[in-house]
């Protein structure tokens, strides 16, 4: 009985998480544009998707911005986290509060203030402003995911490396970085996903001709969202799923290898 309840609970959680995605996938094959009735199987939305210049453009910008902004934010954020970690208590408190603030700030405030800043600096709104804003709102998340890892670190490790003749930079690269890597990767992935689905900040900071997917999808709300978007989401979901499977297989193989070596 207890087992059953356990399983049922897990089932319920996964049902809530995945039911919407399954519905979305099913309706990407619906012949009708409506989500209200099923009128037959078709692949036409997939065909139309690749011919839709607007969606393809948006996909391109979404991915470029997500990749570049998360990479840049990870580099800056990791460096900042190391800096903050080595500060004295008071300075640390000040800087951490400054870091938390943009995270707590509603997106719309961040978006509008960035837009006003760019207009004030007379920068033309477009790709660069979009990228800069994404880097900006990503940095705090990277800092916040790297810092705990630094706190767990044995601080004598670094000193030992220096004692053994490593330069500070070398010690950071070879001793500190590998140990905080899980935090860095978490930060990177977090930044990537946040950038991928941000709407509000992007809407205000982008300009002529540059739009990411969330802007395009949201703008369809009045006329009804086209099943082309379902098709695109299905493809994205499947590719992420494949990616995860590949990564998991690799890591489990690695682990097996290690275990064997130890034995």
């Amino acid at each position: 009985m207890k087992d059953f309840l356990k399983r049922f609970y897990v089932f319920l959680i996964f049902a809530f998480l995945y039911a919407p995605i399954i519905v979305l996938i099913i309706f990407s094959f619906n012949d009708s544009k409506s989500r209200g009735n099923w009128s037959g199987f078709t692949l036409k939305w997939y065909r139309q998707l690749f011919h839709d210049q607007q969606i393809m453009n948006a996909l391109y910008y979404t991915i470029i911005v997500a990749v570049v902004s998360s990479l840049v934010a990870t580099v800056i954020g990791t460096a900042a986290a190391i800096g903050i970690h080595n500060m004295n208590k008071f300075k640390k408190a000040v800087i951490m509060n400054i870091t938390y603030l943009p995270v707590m700030n509603p997106d719309i405030v961040t978006g509008i203030s960035l837009m006003i800043l760019f207009i004030f600096l007379r920068m033309e709104l477009g790709f660069i402003t979009l990228l800069l804003s994404h880097i900006t709102f990503n940095i705090p998340y990277v800092i916040l995911s790297v810092l705990p890892k630094l706190r767990q670190l044995n601080k004598h490790m670094y000193e030992a490396a220096l004692d053994l003749g490593a330069t500070p930079l070398y010690a950071y690269r070879k001793v500190i970085l590998p140990q905080i890597m899980p935090g860095v990767i978490t930060g990177l992935l977090l930044a990537f996903t946040l950038s991928l689905d941000d709407f509000i900040i992007s809407f205000f900071t982008t300009g002529s001709g540059v739009a990411n997917l969330s802007i395009v999808v949201y703008s369809m709300a009045r006329r009804g969202i086209s099943p082309k978007i379902n098709a695109l989401s299905t493809l994205m979901f499947v590719s992420v799923l494949l990616l995860l499977i590949i990564v998991n297989r690799r890591t489990s193989k690695d682990n097996n290898g290690k275990r064997r070596r130890h034995a």
Partner: protein
């Protein structure tokens, strides 16, 4: 000393950063000088996409096509100067507001010879009385979409939305102007009234109706009506057209008390740096073939007389979708008045929170 070094390093880095970006910006400018790029701002999914390509081919002008979700989103972007849009397609009341705030340029109609195809009854409309700022793109009404398998009687009045027979089978619009407008029209008042007593009466009527209403919805109403979840719904004519094509049991009627008449029109915001090309684009959109393609794809009513002739006669002769002038006697276009909007806001909040 060390601090000084750090600060100066930071300053140098920052200035390098800035100069890189301004450098990029300069380049972009040069490009656009040699080749005009037209920035068009429209509702999502509100154009036949090949039209943009053919404009590019015909005139050699590249089009940056961008979309928005609500009039207000578009307004914020143009008002703040965030995008140098050359052509935008807002709705009636927003055009009036933008005119009053000097956000629109006067169009030189000499450059738009195709304007002659726009039906005369769609010229000199209330939001642009002297026809200086806008060219109509699509138009329509607000009416009742009903399911003929659930409603037997003829639908020709807003009163049917207050009929107890249809308890929990009615969808209302979650939009203050539209829902208050329905109640005002039912009571025989103007949709643009500023008389507080009339507004209070409308509020009472809506509160009285509230128990009968299944839900206040916006876009979802289409899927729900197609799936047969309700008997009656207040919808825009363009959406009604789409719903009927998906579910033939549905029908659309415009009530005899009158209703809202809406327009989406092409305008040139003051942010535009290429007025001549913007006018070329508007003129292109008014070419018969192009207007036909758009009307056929979107399914909303076109104000273009030639395009109308090319459309499926069954649609064009349907007075629900292409009402004649005599059907529109009691119809009104929404007006914009900042003061009145406050009353509308308050009353709508009182209704929804009750």
């Amino acid at each position: 000393m060390k601090n000084l070094f750090r600060i100066s390093l930071a300053v140098v880095l920052f200035s390098v950063l800035i100069s890189t970006f301004t450098g990029c910006k300069g380049e972009g400018k040069n490009n656009s000088k040699s080749k005009v790029v037209l920035n068009v701002y429209n509702w999502g999914d509100y154009i036949e996409e090949t039209v943009i390509e053919s404009f590019k081919k015909e005139y050699g002008i590249k089009v940056n096509y961008e979309t928005f979700t609500t009039n207000e989103d578009m307004y914020v972007k143009i008002k703040s100067g965030a995008g140098d849009y050359d052509v935008a397609i807002p709705s009636d009341y927003m055009i009036k507001r933008m005119i009053s705030e000097n956000l629109l340029k006067k169009i030189n109609f000499d450059n738009i010879p195709n304007y002659k195809y726009i039906e005369d009854r769609f010229k000199n409309l209330a939001f642009d009385p002297n026809n200086e700022y806008s060219v109509p793109y699509m138009w329509g009404t607000v009416g009742i979409l009903y399911n003929t398998t659930m409603v037997d009687e003829p639908v020709d009045s807003w009163n049917i939305l207050w009929d107890k027979k249809y308890e929990k089978q009615i969808f209302m619009l979650d939009s203050q102007r539209d829902s208050l407008g329905v109640a005002l029209k039912k009571l025989g008042y103007s949709m643009n009234t500023r008389n507080l007593n009339e507004l209070e009466e409308a509020k009472k009527a809506l509160l009285e109706q509230k128990p009968l209403v299944l839900a206040y919805v916006v876009d979802e109403v289409k899927d729900k009506m197609i799936a047969g979840e309700g008997a009656l719904a207040v919808v825009w004519s363009g959406d009604a057209f789409y719903c009927i094509s998906e579910n033939p049991d549905l029908a659309y009627a415009i009530p005899k008390e009158g209703s809202n008449l809406w327009f989406d029109s092409m305008v040139i915001p003051v942010t535009s740096k290429n007025q001549k090309e913007a006018e070329m684009f508007i003129n292109f959109m008014c070419e018969s073939e192009v207007a036909y393609k758009n009307a056929d794809y979107i399914g909303y009513a076109t104000p273009h007389s030639e395009a109308k002739k090319m459309l499926d006669p069954e649609v064009v002769n349907n007075r629900a979708f292409y009402p004649l002038e005599e059907d529109l006697v009691n119809f009104e276009i929404f007006e914009y008045d900042a003061e009145a909007m406050k009353d509308y806001d308050r009353i709508w909040t009182e209704i929804t929170s009750e």
